[in-house]
């Protein structure tokens, strides 16, 4: 009796009772999200917590004992030349992002001029995007091949180079070669997203500018590009996140070489975890990767986000 009296007089517990009543009434909602929620609890929440735990231990997966090493795994990152090399390489890969955006935007702008056969052009530019990465890597391995590769043939023919280059074996050229391949693979999706952005710009804006005597270049610089800022922001954030995680191309085409010059963080992490079985260290690296992505996204959010009103 005394207990129920307190409950009735206490506002917190009456709210709790109301919540419980609501939960009972909407029981089926919980049944509906149960599969997803259980999956999320195991493969996301538990997984991240477990990863955090592993990152403070030394562990090779085969032996059951995993000695606690404190922050050692994290500190090791700072004196690991291969890791630092991988970070440098990953940031170098990011040089390709503005080029990729420019390439996608150019195609979108050209397609948006009401050309005939838009669907055909769009399909042609988009085919590299749906091509499996494994296949793209195979194709480009051939393109960059030294003796028979397509690139060497056409560059020699055009007189741009005077001897065959083994692109993927040259420490200075392998990474730029991969960047070009990635631009090829990404332009299609950038183009489609920019096209959607372009189509959401009201026609009246251009009409008004024409009345004011703005030429095509001015309309591009002062209307189109500023109004596409939210689209560019979205593409920038997703491209940066994607670049941090490059793996397949490197695995198939260069194995991280020559001289570790194409080793990305994603590739090095895989090597550490599944070739050298250094699980604790690899997990610490994954958290470092997460921290970098987080900081980068935050910075972009702060400085590059486009708030557009029209």
């Amino acid at each position: 009796m005394a207990v129920t009296d307190i409950r009735q007089s206490n506002p917190t517990s009456s709210r709790l009772r109301e919540t419980l009543r609501q939960m009972r009434k909407n029981w089926s909602a919980y049944v509906f999200i149960a599969p997803g929620l259980i999956h999320f609890a195991i493969f996301t929440v538990f997984a991240v917590s477990f990863a955090f735990y592993i990152s403070f231990h030394e562990w090779n997966i085969i032996q059951p004992d995993k000695p606690f090493v404190g922050l050692d795994n994290y500190l090791r990152l700072f004196d690991d030349p291969r890791f630092l090399r991988a970070v440098t390489n990953t940031f170098t890969f990011m040089a390709g992002i503005p080029l990729g955006l420019a390439s996608g935007l150019s195609v979108a702008l050209l397609l948006n001029t009401k050309v005939r056969g838009q669907a055909i052009y769009r399909t042609l530019f988009y085919i590299p995007v749906v091509t499996p990465l494994v296949v793209s890597s195979i194709i480009w391995k051939w393109v960059y091949q030294g003796d028979y590769g397509l690139l060497n043939y056409y560059l020699l023919k055009l007189g741009i180079i005077d001897q065959k280059i083994v692109w993927l074996a040259d420490p200075d050229l392998a990474l730029p070669a991969l960047i070009i391949m990635m631009i090829w693979g990404g332009t299609g999706s950038t183009m489609v997203i920019y096209l959607a952005g372009l189509q959401s710009i009201p026609e009246e804006m251009y009409d008004a500018a024409k009345v004011d005597g703005a030429n095509a270049l001015q309309r591009l610089l002062y209307i189109t590009i500023p109004l596409l800022k939210p689209t560019t922001f979205f593409l920038l954030v997703t491209s940066v996140i994607g670049t941090f995680q490059i793996f397949t191309e490197v695995y198939i085409m260069t194995n991280g070489g020559p001289l570790n010059r194409t080793t990305t963080i994603g590739y090095y992490l895989y090597t550490k975890a599944f070739r050298e079985l250094d699980m604790g260290y690899a997990t610490a690296m994954a958290f470092a990767l997460f921290a970098m992505i987080f900081v980068f996204t935050l910075l972009q959010w702060k400085y590059a986000r486009g708030d557009v009103e029209y």
Binding site: G36, A47, V134, D207
Partner: protein, 309 residues
């Protein structure tokens, strides 16, 4: 908005003269646009077109210099040899099976969760949803090792006892790919955005008629979600078919490889059999290419949907 509207009505009569003469500047502009687009498209499709062409050439011809864009000797033997080579036929079936199963499982669980988050009110809804969205920024690499361990230690799978010890768990089985991919927060998010646009009146009417929540979801909401379901289905199918990283981690039994995994390991092991490799590349691109060409409308809309966010 109001301002631009008035500007439109004002500007239209000024900017469009009654009879418009042909301007040579416009024609030239159009020509330049077509030249640029066509050159770009040729450069973009060239490496890919070469793969297709080479897949029909005997190996000696593939190594020709200058490259043969049109096969001098046309042969299908690369394809027959590819299909006869160790495991490839099985790997095609594996990939198809996995892509279809993951697609069905995901569509079901994702759409149920999306419907619930979009249309039901219940304690904890917003908190749970935000928590899920908050994890989207976590890179896949962070889940790599813990999820590998979860699969390895799954109780009662792959010879494991009830405590998850003794066997290989879900690793090296279809489960190891299906279960981790059974649910996707991304796709729940996009389906939810779409479902929010469905008027509540429709659902309330069904409720008045005594329809159960499952019936409302299945018979009222789902039939209205065609476009978003199609877009998601195409994405999921393409993603699973093209996936390389997760099968590389999970699968070690050669019989269970997916086509992408099998092809990649084949290329790395046999560096010179480009004829078979190109035929295999074409075959492994074909399903996603066909899906793309036939469902392009949904595909593009799906991209625009994700891109606009």
């Amino acid at each position: 908005m109001a301002i631009t509207r008035t500007e439109k009505t004002v500007s239209k009569p000024i900017s469009t003269p009654a009879v418009r003469p042909i301007k040579w500047k416009d024609v030239l502009g159009k020509a330049i646009v077509y030249v640029l687009l066509t050159t770009g498209a040729i450069i973009f499709i060239a490496p890919w077109a070469w793969m297709v062409s080479a897949s029909f050439q005997p190996i000696g011809q593939i190594f020709n210099w200058p490259p043969n864009w049109i096969p001098e000797i046309f042969t299908l033997s690369n394809y027959t040899r590819f299909l006869a080579a160790e495991g490839f036929f099985r790997w095609i079936l594996n990939s198809g099976f996995l892509a279809v199963v993951v697609l069905c499982v995901q569509m079901f669980f994702n759409s149920m969760a999306a419907y619930t988050f979009a249309k039901r009110k219940f304690p904890g809804r917003d908190g749970l949803f935000l928590m899920m969205l908050g994890t989207l920024m976590i890179p896949g690499q962070l889940f790599l090792i813990p999820n590998y361990m979860i699969l390895l230690r799954s109780p009662l799978f792959g010879g494991n006892n009830i405590l998850g010890q003794g066997g290989h768990g879900m690793l090296d089985s279809y489960w190891g790919i299906i279960i981790p991919y059974a649910f996707s927060v991304w796709s729940v998010f996009f389906m939810r955005q779409y479902m929010k646009g469905i008027p509540d009146d429709l659902l309330d009417a069904a409720r008045m008629d005594g329809a159960s929540e499952f019936l409302i979801y299945w018979k009222v909401v789902m039939p209205l979600c065609g476009p978003v379901l199609a877009a998601q289905a195409i994405f999921t199918f393409t993603f699973v078919w093209n996936d390389f990283f997760w099968p590389l981690i999970v699968i070690s039994d050669p019989d269970l490889r997916t086509l992408q995994l099998g092809l990649a390991l084949f290329v790395i092991k046999n560096r010179t059999v480009w004829d078979i490799v190109f035929a295999g590349s074409v075959i492994s691109t074909l399903p996603v290419l066909l899906v793309f060409i036939f469902f392009q409308k949904y595909f593009i809309r799906g991209i625009a949907l994700t891109g606009m966010k």
